[in-house]
């Protein structure tokens, strides 16, 4: 059976010559549909670079990246954007919300790039707001929310397009323990519903709760 994600000798170099940095030094692995994987490693080990490549925000310098059998490393920027739009949801440590947009508009942003009708956007966002238990914050702005509420908004935005993969980069890094647990419950719940989940984390408890752990060190899988 074909893997959902297949990385083959992926390399990523920043800069050229002696001042250049090798962020990923030829890593290979596969991920099956519905898996929940933790990517662990020290700061600078290449976790974020790996997630950026998996999410189509960055392209590898060398190697092959296939998603559902389709070569992603060869895609042009516009097609890469379409790939992100249809398949990937991002959650990051500091939420990446736009402060001068309401909670509703932040969540609706991916739908607007899909040119969805206003009525449908309204329905989908309302539904997710209810799921995340933040319906009352619909018209609030991110600075008015708690960290936990911000991360729920970020998760709602990440999954509103029903992506096949959720990439979470330190999703609980900016949260207290209790809120972090709650956010992880939401992510686990999404995974149980079939969403492939890849989490970059320093947290051993979160890593150990995943089905598989990929440990990175200096751009290589240990």
């Amino acid at each position: 059976m074909m893997s959902l994600i297949n990385l083959d000798r992926i390399q990523k170099h920043y800069g050229k010559g002696q001042s250049g940095v090798c962020a990923l030094g030829g890593i290979s692995f596969s991920i099956e549909t519905g898996e929940m994987i933790a990517v662990v490693g020290k700061s600078g080990s290449g976790k974020s670079t790996l997630l950026n490549i998996l999410g189509g925000l960055d392209s590898p310098t060398d190697g092959e990246y296939s998603f559902a059998g389709k070569r992603i490393d060869r895609l042009k920027p516009n097609h890469l954007a379409e790939f992100r739009r249809c398949n990937i949801g991002f959650v990051v440590q500091h939420f990446a919300l736009i402060d001068d947009m309401t909670v509703f508009d932040n969540i609706a942003l991916p739908l607007r790039y899909r040119k969805m009708a206003g009525k449908l956007i309204n329905e989908k966002v309302e539904h997710l707001l209810a799921d995340m238990e933040i319906s009352d914050k619909k018209k609030a702005y991110p600075p008015e929310l708690s960290s936990g509420q911000c991360q729920r908004v970020a998760i709602a935005r990440a999954i509103i397009n029903k992506p096949s993969v959720l990439l979470a980069d330190e999703p609980t890094g900016a949260l207290d323990e209790q809120t972090g647990c709650h956010i992880m419950d939401i992510i686990r719940n999404l995974n149980e519903q079939g969403m492939t989940t890849i989490i970059a984390t320093h947290d051993r408890d979160i890593a150990s709760s995943c089905q598989r752990i990929i440990q990175l060190s200096d751009g290589h899988i240990v």
Binding site: L80, V92, Q93, L109, G173
Partner: protein, 306 residues
């Protein structure tokens, strides 16, 4: 014909003259263009003013004349006058009379028209048949300065030939030498160069100012662009946002410029120049921001704030 209609009668200098054995009486006469009636609010008391066909000279036997009010005692509508006009025998039909006490401003002075004959200032002349009349009409209309480096337009020669032929022609020709023409052209070139320099400086200041401003906005919005890209935007969407912003700034400035230009110089083709300059500034202002967007390192846009 009473003397009061004679040219120079009021100054006591109205003398008849002989030509080819015939005696002529110099009458007060004025050429008027088509718009003189509307421009100066003059109406015709009786009969008709000139129509557009009356300003075409193709037959000297069928011309129209409008007479001053004091002529009413001596002529009626449809009467014919025979006169030597522009050194040529012509026949005029009286088409109308001006109301009494009509004045027409000429060279800053109001001229009392009641004793005048109004003749159409011909705008089109059959030059094949009436070459001399056409030449004289041209010289009459060129009542300012003729500045030309083109030797083919020999104005003094033309005047001299006509003067010799008719033995009289009141037309002063001040010929400007080649040096003066060159100096005038050089001066014009200098003015054009200076204006171009000012124009270039303003355009450069505008483009650089706008570019720096937009670059600043791009830097300030790195994080926002990162969020948009994570949400499925393409770089083309970000580019559209930037171009939209530049268009908005240029559009506001252009609207204001057009209004000011229209107030200062009126609505006309010159406004197209304003639009073209705005388009050029828009195109130039887009270059650096577009390069910046193209070179954006997407992966660095949303950095973890550890």
């Amino acid at each position: 014909m009473p003397e009061k209609f004679g040219f120079g009668y009021e100054e006591g200098a109205c003398e008849p003259y002989n030509r080819d054995g015939e005696q002529f009486f110099p009458a007060k006469c004025i050429q008027v263009s088509g718009n003189v009636f509307t421009e100066f609010g003059i109406s015709v008391e009786e009969g008709q003013a000139f129509s557009s066909e009356d300003f075409v000279l193709d037959n000297t036997d069928k011309l129209k004349a409008v007479l001053g009010n004091e002529y009413k005692e001596y002529f009626k509508i449809g009467d014919r006058l025979e006169a030597e006009y522009l050194f040529t025998r012509m026949k005029f039909e009286v088409s109308g009379f001006l109301p009494p006490n009509t004045y027409i401003p000429r060279n800053g002075v109001l001229v009392y028209m009641d004793r005048y004959i109004l003749i159409p200032a011909f705008s089109r002349i059959d030059t094949q048949r009436y070459y001399d009349i056409a030449s004289i009409a041209l010289l009459q209309q060129a009542n300012g300065q003729i500045v030309t480096a083109d030797k083919s337009l020999d104005v003094p020669g033309l005047v001299k030939a006509l003067s010799n032929k008719y033995n009289t022609l009141y037309f002063d020709v001040n010929k400007i030498g080649q040096k003066e023409i060159q100096r005038t052209i050089k001066l014009s070139d200098e003015i054009v160069k200076t204006l171009f320099l000012i124009f270039l400086t303003l355009v450069v200041f505008t483009v650089v100012g706008l570019t720096v401003n937009i670059q600043g906005r791009i830097r300030d919005n790195y994080y926002r662009y990162g969020v948009h890209l994570m949400s499925g935007a393409a770089l083309a969407n970000i580019t559209c946002q930037i171009i939209g912003l530049i268009m908005y700034i240029i559009g506001c400035s252009l609207a204001l410029s057009l209004v000011l230009a229209a107030i200062a110089t009126g609505i006309g083709m010159q406004l197209i120049v304003v639009i073209l300059v705005a388009l050029a500034i828009f195109a130039l202002s887009c270059i650096v921001p577009l390069i910046t967007i193209k070179r954006l390192d997407i992966s660095c846009l949303v950095r973890r704030k550890e």
